[in-house]
Amino acid sequence: MHIHHKAVGSIPSQLAPANGPSFNPFSTRRVAVTGGTSGLGLALVRELLNRGAEVALVARGREGVKRVLQELPHAHGIVGDVSRKEDIHPIAIQIVGALGGLDVLINNASDLGPAPLQLLADTECEDFERALATNVLGPFRLTKALLGSLAASAREGRGAVVVNVSSDAAQNPYPRWGAYGASKAALLHLSHIWDEELRLEGVRILSIDPGDMDTPLHAAAMPDADRSTLQRPEEAAHKLANAVAALLSPAASDLHPDLDSEAIAQGAKG
């Protein structure tokens, strides 16, 4: 797993929260995960529920959402497609309605582009557009629609974190990964810029590359890969949750004692 950050040290380097075993940064935290019915997303939903978070999952297929809710009845299931502009506000209404607010948003839903993978010159424009809509515009729109809720959480001292799930294809020019790689590169840059812009509000935007995993997306990209060599999504979910926990823990506040948003958050907590 790799956290993409520009300034080394801007994110706590330790992955486990530093406040001892009794402090659980996820208890009473409200988390939404897109693409939450398979792969890393589903593993994250399970991991976060286990850690005591209230979790809403978003996915396109009603059947998939129903199936996950049968296994995890405490989760909130929302049917919606983040690549569709018209779905964004209905999704946001249901997330904040179900959870009563939002502390963590994990933009995990991803589109590979053409499957099987193609050279860019052979890539249909429609496949590229779908990858951009799902991997860049979707996270942008959903984060924007939920930013009021996230900033309110930050003021209340609950912390506010957005995770955009990235890939090493965002940084390395792998042939045949053009649509996916270019869209993830755009998402990575968006994450960095937005994180700078929202620092004053106490909202953090993280880009995290979970590494190669044994997921449906990986199978579509590389059907011949030896699955036994791949990381299990559960491991990646565990590490990703630790990275978020480090930002939600009170120790993270010590990073910017000069920010007024920290003073407000402290005041709110009494």
């Binding site: 209404i93 249901q94 001292g157 005041g267």
Partner: protein, 364 residues
């Protein structure tokens, strides 16, 4: 004034009429709103997101088409039971004053509203006003509202509104029935420049209700009781500002209603918690918390206009009306704004909430 008929939240030429505490007025560009503020001020906005609260459908017993507009609720977490105004056939393109009556409604009547199903639980002393109860689990009701509902809209806007047209930049909990539209003036760049100038920004969540029903009998009852929540951070920022003589600036009438309701209940303090605002503010109300308001331009006779009378006397309000007309200010939710400081000579009575304190929904 001119009706603003395009759903543009921050037109580049938006204006604000500024009236200071001595009644002097100036015209400014609304994009320069931050320049009206001072270091130490706290700006308080309503962060309620707008529910798509207009539900078209059918009255099962007669099969006739209806439009239901959700109008009020008892608490911010309530999702199954609402007060609602019911219209007959038609939609927002017809002025509300001219909308047809719904079929005669009786308790127990079933309503089919997209995928939602509801029952008329009670009639509320008017043929259009009911208490309705949605069927099904919470999650299904949220989904039905989110997917089938349309923003409540009036005939001055000719094209259908999208949900995003009705959400302010800072929109959070989807609990308002109409946009807290004074907040359309805000964007994140403004919040950043406030922060740079040591002006604090706080929010409350107030379930703004319908602003108009087209029926004078019902309109006389507006605003309905509205639940609101004051977060800990907001309570803290207000206390800090008061201690250091900073001003409390309300973005919109709902913020004034909520903060003054809390202050009336708690002897001038504004503690965190959820409550139900029942009072109406007008010329005789004494404002204990709010020092200035940024608001839309309101027509005489509306409850919003009445609330402005708590800030300035009728002579100044009359002059404001003349200025707004003379300078072609735009009205309605996407229109221009006024910024009123509480007049130095205001000596209204104490505001008394009309419910006993025992009915308060406040958290411990």
């Amino acid at each position: 004034m001119i009706a603003a008929n395009l759903p543009v939240q921050r037109p580049p030429d938006a204006k604000v009429l500024v009236v200071d505490r001595r009644g002097h007025s100036t015209h400014r560009a609304r994009s320069e709103f931050v320049n009206l503020l001072r270091s130490g001020d706290v700006v308080v906005a309503n962060d309620a997101a707008t529910l798509p609260a207009s539900l078209s459908g059918r009255h099962s017993r007669t099969g006739r088409p209806i439009e239901v507009r959700l109008a009020a609720r008892d608490s911010l977490d309530e999702i199954a039971r609402f007060s609602a105004v019911v219209f007959g056939e038609g939609d927002f393109r017809t002025r509300t004053e001219s909308r047809s009556m719904p079929p005669a409604l009786i308790p127990g009547d079933r309503l089919e509203l997209g995928q939602l199903r509801a029952t008329v639980a009670r009639l509320l002393n008017h043929p259009r006003l009911i208490s309705l109860q949605f069927d099904g689990p919470t999650q299904e009701i949220w989904e039905g509202l989110a997917r089938h509902g349309r923003p409540v809209q009036y005939a001055h806007l000719p094209t259908p509104l999208a949900i995003w047209d009705t959400w302010t930049s800072i929109a959070g909990p989807p609990v308002a029935f109409e946009p807290p539209s004074a907040g359309f003036a805000l964007d994140w760049s403004m919040l950043a420049s406030m922060s740079a100038r040591k002006i604090r920004f706080a929010t409350i969540t107030h379930a703004a209700g319908l602003s108009s029903t087209g029926d004078s009998e019902l309109d006389a009852l507006l605003p309905f009781p509205e639940p609101y929540r004051i977060p800990q951070s907001t309570a803290w920022m207000i206390k800090q500002a008061q201690a250091s003589h900073g001003r409390i600036i309300a973005i919109g009438t709902t913020v004034v209603r909520a903060l003054e309701h809390a202050a009336a209940m708690f002897g001038g303090a504004v503690p965190a918690g959820e409550r139900l605002a029942t009072q109406r503010l007008g010329a005789s109300s004494k404002l204990r918390i709010v020092d200035a308001i940024l608001s839309g331009t309101h027509e005489r006779g509306t409850s919003h206009y009445e609330l402005l009378r708590a800030f300035v006397d009728d002579e100044i309000l009359g002059r404001i009306d003349q200025e707004l007309h003379a300078h072609d200010y735009r009205t309605h939710e996407f229109g221009d704004s006024v910024f009123l400081e509480k007049a130095a000579n205001r000596t209204g009575n104490e505001v008394h909430p009309s419910v006993p304190a025992g009915q308060c929904l406040c958290h411990p």
